[in-house]
Assembly symmetry: C2
Homo-oligomer: 216 residues x 2
DNA sequence: TTGTATTCGTGACTCATTTCACAAGGACCC
DNA sequence: GGGTCCTTGTGAAATGAGTCACGAATACAA
């Protein structure tokens, strides 16, 4: 346990271990080896051990890692002990799909509201989640204790809304728009750009690159 | 120009530069400095120059990089000279949202078909794109010359369908399911897992990590 | 209890990526 | 045509990530 700085790619791997551990826990498995964890997370056994050893000694030599305690430890490390309260901004095609995504809840993220400008949508419920007016963004975020936002509005208003979210005290934004958001102190931002991923595929294919598996 | 091996994170940055260059080209800008490119792609000027120098000398000292030629060069490097023919497998909530995503075309990816099991959907068109039976997956992929697939089916059938896609000759899969797909020779796979990104946000927030901007 | 087979934890090493610093090359003004 | 800015291109240095090998600890069988 040497408490190095935790890199982004390592956090990504921890997520992968956690996913696998949840699955194993549901199956009733008691212990799992670094090798098995590595296979599912597309890495090596040594890497798994090194990653986990950053936080303490959870394994038992000769046996492996106890599934449930290790899962709970990762939940703690990743900050998922209690669910995060989140909203979706932009209840369009993509936003609506996300509102119906049941895995959010299972993974510790609770979507408590959506926001939109469209008067047709405001006041309705989509997948059981209320669509609120974008005008009330700041007040609703405060009263409902919303900490995270998923941004699925068009390019035009994206920057402005991100600023308003930051201003209203949101701690993190998951950005699905192709707009690059300005970093704001106190607000973490992560972008999911489909085109970037597709272009990555394209590059690998034309350069004859086999290496199939990065993410899932 | 030293022709090192191109890393994954570098390809990601190249995508970022390309996005910005497309935007600047549309605005009519003639030249751009490494500094400006760096600001938008959340990196440093030196990094931009080093990245680009892998492929040749495109810049003019004292002036910067000519926007349109550099854009075209990146298009070539990333393998985007002609559009890729793609399909969406699983025309559910997420799949439907993706079928309506107009930016695909602009970025060089043409969605020519969707596949599903649901008899209600098969034969219909969604957003102008025909929904075909999953039973005809192999034959349709061959006759329509489909090269890429976006996978948006439930967890259950995901692995099996990925195998069928690989068998049918698809060159790349963009996987939105939480299922980890087995790497297959000749098929590049890239996963987009929302939960992984949200967990990354969660981690950064609880550890007090400011560093706002990775992706968009 | 002893021996053998496992599997973790970890320091040393290797390899990859990023940053730094600056010379080289061109633009532009006078 | 000479001087002055700028900004690129690039080796060298610094930093960081991932791999290896092996000792320590444990399980289990005989
Ligand atoms: N559709 C996809 O599959 C997809 C995939 C990846 C990324 N994206 C990105 O996600 C974003 C949304 O895409 P979409 O296809 O869902 O578009 P959409 O037009 O279907 O939905 C956008 C929604 O945002 C709302 N909106 C517009 N301005 C707003 C404002 N100022 N405040 C609040 N809400 C506002 C609209 O009323 C609409 O409901 C776009 O930036 C797009 O590039 C979409
Ligand atoms: N909804 C989201 O916002 C979201 C976000 C991220 C990831 N995902 C993932 O994307 C996948 C789809 O999610 P969804 O919400 O769109 O689910 P959905 O149930 O709305 O859609 C799934 C579609 O796949 C079709 N399907 C089922 N079995 C099939 C088969 N064997 N062959 C072809 N088609 C088949 C179904 O008929 C349905 O139309 C899931 O794996 C989910 O975890 C969804």
């Amino acid at each position: 346990m040497s408490t190095r700085k935790i890199s982004d790619s390592m956090v990504r791997r921890l997520s992968g271990y956690l996913r696998q551990l949840r699955f194993l826990a549901a199956e009733g498995r008691r212990v799992v080896s670094s090798q098995e964890l590595a296979d599912e997370a597309a890495t090596t056994a040594a890497q798994v051990r090194k990653d986990l050893s950053q936080f303490g000694s959870f394994g038992q030599r000769g046996r492996g890692y106890p599934v449930v305690p290790l899962r709970d430890e990762l939940v703690r490390i990743l900050g998922l002990r209690r669910p995060w309260r989140a909203c979706v901004v932009g209840a369009g095609r993509l936003g609506t799909a996300l509102l119906g995504y049941e895995d959010f809840g299972k993974r510790g993220f609770e979507i408590v509201a959506a926001f939109d400008v469209d008067p047709e949508l405001i006041g309705k419920e989509v997948e059981g989640i209320p669509v609120l007016s974008i005008e009330d963004l700041e007040s609703e975020i405060r009263t409902r204790g919303i900490e995270l936002a998923v941004l699925t509005v068009p390019h035009g208003p994206a920057r402005r809304i991100a600023d308003r979210l930051a201003e209203a005290g949101v701690r993190g934004i998951l950005n699905f728009t192709p707009t690059r958001l300005r970093a704001r102190p106190g607000v973490s931002i992560r972008g999911m750009d489909i085109a970037v991923e597709l272009e990555g595929l394209s590059y690998r294919i034309v350069t004859g690159g086999e290496p199939g598996g990065n993410g899932a």
